[in-house]
Structures are given as structure tokens and as C-alpha cells.
């Protein structure tokens, strides 16, 4: 009889264990590494710096990016081929996948976490999906006043359940108010400059800035004073000088806003520009090793890490912000694609595409403290992005 009780107890225990499909675990130290060539992602954790699992079948992941759900359990991955995939990082599986366009560049999640927005090249426009089901909720074709379609770039969320994005060919910035998701209310700003190629919003959600490829300058929209319209800043920063050929477009998402100053990559120049955020004027230039791609501030804003376009893409430089000098040059390997700081900035993870690995560095001493193998890794995204406007 006693044996029977023990047996039953054991049985009950086993069956309970069998029910738990997802491990009971927080996701605050989770991250995703994009494996661009194989259409797979790695789910990693930054506490012990290990691979937790790999998920395949996500399509063409060149230029892939992602957003996290507000509970940081799900990743919404945007593929180049127009695929939008919702991944459960605890159960390590694809929850849902939709082909939402022919060609996509990235996305954003709404302030309330209920809408996923995808920026598309073909056909150009923005599509909005229910974050739970990935059902299509609304669609904004990027057709300008002449009836031409544009590629959409620089899509970010804006406080007030709004989104901002730019039209590459048309040279426009649009703001979509999505408080009633089925009826987007649009505000359009025309003739903001030639060929906006990427944009960002400051962490407080106030300033939307689009970089212009067709001319040296930036287009600025103040979300606190949207009626004032788009203002041009840094007009003609390379005036009279021949721009170098650009082998990789800079990315503005990582633009380092260090409080009073903004450090941005100069298009076609071996320089990082320093902008005073009060006057919106250039206050300095820092000569660097190549054309900057990502300019990323360490969370304490003391230092900024910069990687470079082909053919200088084997190098990272670290800028000391107060003195505007380079304090370290690193050679992490061939084709450095992306850098991501851990949430409080003690480490930084660096993807080296042509080395098939992710290197992990101490952000204080620059010492290499580890690495993880990955197949042609590009973007690295940690889950603290779940709680940041514009990421």
C-alpha cells in the first residue's frame, strides 16, 4: 500500500513535468542572432552567453530586422522576401508566418504592443498586423501626389500609437495615427529632401530624423510640434567635396544620442558627425577608419562604437564622446555587420559575417571574452529593445 502511494506520487510528478512545454524562465537576457544566408535565427542568452536554440525556415534574411513583443517572449522577424515570422523564444518555435509583401525592409511595433507594422519596397507601403494573430488590420500604399509608388524606409513607432516613415523616391515623411487601427489618419510632409535612405527616432520619441542620400543633410520632424513641419538640418555638410562611392548604406537606428549631442554617420565620408541637439547644428567631425555604418552608443553614452562599410568592414573603432577621440581600434574579423550592447552595457556582441561567428567583448576593457559560432551572422537584437521607443 505504501509502495502504491509512492508510485502514484512519482507518476503525478512525472506527468506534471510532462505538461510543462516551455521552461519557466524570464526572457530579459534573451537575444536573437540573424543567420542571414540560411534563413535561420539563433536564440541566445547573455547571462552565461550561450546558444539556447536555433529556428529555421524564415526565408531570405538579408537585411533582416525584428521587434519584440512587450512581454519579450515573441520576436517578430522581418525578412527581405516579405516574410513576417512570429517566433516564440520560450517554446523555440515559429508561431505564425505570413508572406506580407514581395520585398520588405523592416518593421516596428506600436506603443501599446498590439500592432506590428511592416515597411515594404515592393509594392511600396506599410502594412499593419494584429500582433496576436498576424491578421492584416490596415494598409497604407506609399503613392505620392503624382501617383508613383515609393519604397518605404525608416519606419518607427511614435508615442500616441503613431508611426513615422519616409518615402525614398518621393522624398516625403508620413506620420500615421493608428489609435483607430482600421482607420489610419495620415499627416504627410512633402519635399523633405532627396532620397531619405533611413531614419530614426530619439529614445524619448520626440525627434524623427531621416538621413538623405541624394544630398548632404538630414530631415527633422519634432513630434512635440508636428505643425511646425519638417526642418532641414546639417544642410550640405559635404559641400563642394566629392562624395566617395557608398558600398553600404549607413544605418540610422543605432544613431548615438548621447543626451545633448547626436553622433551620426556621414554618407560617403570617413567621418562621424557630431550634432548639437539643441541648435541642430554640426559642432564637430571625427575622422574614422572608413565610411561608418552603425554608430552605437554604449548605454552610459560615454563611448560610441562604430563599424564600417566594405572594404573597411573588418574594423571597429571606439570613440570617447567627451574628448571626441578614438580610444580603441579592434579587428574582430571579416565583414563586421552589427554590434549590440547588453542591456546595461557591460558587454558588446559583434557579428563577423565572413568568419561565421559572433564575438563577445568587454565594453570597458575591450578584451574579447568569448565567441559563438553562427552561420553568416548579421543583426543581433537583445530583448531590452522590447521596451524602447523606436526599436
Amino acid at each position: 500500500m505504501r509502495y502504491l502511494k509512492v508510485l502514484l506520487l512519482l507518476l503525478a510528478l512525472f506527468s506534471m513535468a510532462g505538461c510543462a512545454t516551455a521552461p519557466q524562465r524570464g526572457t530579459g537576457d534573451f537575444g536573437v542572432v540573424i543567420e542571414r544566408a540560411t534563413g535561420s535565427i539563433q536564440v541566445v542568452e547573455t547571462t552565461n552567453r550561450t546558444l539556447l536554440g536555433q529556428i529555421t525556415g524564415l526565408g531570405d534574411l538579408s537585411h533582416a530586422s525584428l521587434n519584440y513583443s512587450r512581454d519579450a517572449r515573441y520576436a517578430y522577424v522581418f525578412g527581405r522576401d516579405g516574410g513576417l515570422t512570429k517566433v516564440d523564444m520560450l517554446e523555440m518555435r515559429i508561431v505564425k508566418r505570413v508572406m506580407q509583401s514581395g520585398n520588405s525592409i523592416g518593421g516596428a511595433i506600436s506603443q501599446d504592443g498590439k500592432l506590428i507594422a511592416a515597411a515594404n519596397y515592393t509594392p511600396g507601403g506599410v502594412k499593419f498586423f494584429d500582433a496576436e494573430t498576424l491578421d492584416l488590420v490596415a494598409e497604407i500604399p506609399a503613392i505620392d501626389e503624382t501617383g508613383k509608388s515609393s519604397k518605404v524606409i525608416g519606419l518607427v513607432d511614435v508615442p500616441g500609437n503613431r508611426f513615422a516613415f519616409s518615402l525614398f523616391e518621393a522624398g516625403e515623411i508620413w506620420v500615421a495615427d493608428m489609435r483607430t487601427p482600421s482607420r489610419p489618419a495620415l499627416t504627410k510632409f512633402r519635399r523633405i529632401g532627396k532620397e531619405p535612405y533611413d531614419a530614426m527616432i530619439t529614445a524619448d520619441g520626440r525627434y524623427y530624423l531621416a538621413g538623405l542620400f541624394g544630398e548632404d543633410g538630414l530631415a527633422l520632424l519634432d513630434m512635440w510640434n508636428i505643425d511646425a513641419g519638417v526642418k532641414r538640418v546639417l544642410d550640405g555638410y559635404g559641400k563642394g567635396e566629392q562624395k566617395l562611392p557608398v558600398y553600404k548604406m549607413p544605418h540610422l537606428e543605432g544613431w548615438a544620442a548621447t543626451g545633448s549631442e547626436l553622433l551620426v554617420p556621414a554618407v560617403g565620408r570617413h567621418e562621424v558627425l557630431v550634432i548639437d541637439q539643441g541648435k541642430w547644428a554640426e559642432v564637430g567631425r571625427i575622422p574614422v577608419h572608413g565610411q561608418p555604418v552603425f554608430v552605437v552608443a554604449r548605454p552610459d553614452n560615454r563611448q560610441v562604437w562604430v563599424n564600417f562599410a566594405f572594404p573597411h568592414n573588418d574594423t571597429i573603432q571606439v570613440i570617447d564622446v567627451p574628448s571626441r577621440t578614438i580610444v580603441k581600434t579592434l579587428k574582430p574579423g571579416k565583414a563586421v555587420m552589427h554590434m549590440e550592447f547588453t542591456p546595461r552595457g557591460e558587454h558588446i556582441w559583434v557579428s563577423a559575417r565572413d568568419e561565421d561567428r559572433v564575438g563577445i567583448y568587454d565594453a570597458e576593457t575591450f578584451e574579447r571574452i568569448g565567441e559563438l559560432p553562427a552561420s553568416k551572422p548579421s543583426g543581433i537584437f537583445f530583448t531590452h529593445r522590447a521596451h524602447r521607443t523606436g526599436l
Binding site: R80, D81, K151, F213, V246, Y247, K376
Partner: protein
């Protein structure tokens, strides 16, 4: 000349190779003239797939740059395609790649693109 047994044998071998590979004489002549060394081929293919792919998509179905699939390119003249790679296209985001590629290498890449990259 035609009675040189070695030459006869080589011609036969090449014809046999062509028959089995599905290549034409034209392919072979161009290939002989412009084929980069194997290690360089691997580098060039990686460059095309990854660095061209940054703008044109890993599957060359387009992005900021136009599609580069065999179907998208087949109407375009070979010379124009090679010149685009080498010298870029003014007024667009396409940069010149001639600092990194010889004319022959650019030509070989065009051929690979027209066939569909392995």
C-alpha cells in the same frame, strides 16, 4: 596539325566535356578567357551573394537595388551589365566596383548572374 594525336585527343575530351556539362563552345571560349582562379571565384561569389546582396537581396530579387535574377537581366546587353558593375550608375545608389574587380572578374560575375549564381 590535324594528325597530331595529342591535339585530336584533347579536342575529343573537350567535346565530351561539353556534351556532358551542357555548355556551348561560346561558353567555353569566354570561360577560358576570363575564368578567375578557384580561390578568387569563391571570394567573388561571396562578394556577390553577400555584399551585392545587401542591396539586391540574397536571392537577388531586389531591395534598394534592382532585381538581378537571370530573368531580370536576360534582355540587358552584357557590356552594359559589366560597365554597371565596374563604374556604377550615376544618379543612383549603385557604386563603382572597379577598385576591387578587374574587367575580367566583372565579366565573369555577369556570366554567373545570367546563369543564376550557384
Amino acid at each position: 596539325m590535324s594528325n597530331n594525336p595529342l591535339r585530336f585527343f584533347l579536342t575529343g575530351a573537350v567535346l565530351l566535356m561539353l556534351a556532358h556539362s551542357g555548355m556551348s563552345w561560346g561558353d567555353l571560349v569566354v570561360a577560358e578567357a576570363t575564368m578567375p582562379a578557384p580561390a578568387r571565384q569563391a571570394e567573388l561569389l561571396n562578394l556577390a551573394r553577400q555584399d551585392c546582396g545587401s542591396c539586391h537581396g540574397l536571392r537577388f530579387e531586389g531591395g534598394l537595388g534592382v532585381p538581378l535574377t537571370p530573368a531580370a537581366l536576360k534582355e540587358k546587353p552584357f557590356e552594359a551589365l559589366r560597365a554597371t558593375i565596374l563604374y556604377g550608375r550615376n544618379g543612383t545608389t549603385m557604386p563603382p566596383w572597379n577598385p576591387f574587380l578587374t574587367e575580367a572578374e566583372a565579366g565573369w560575375l555577369v556570366q554567373m548572374l545570367l546563369k543564376g549564381l550557384p
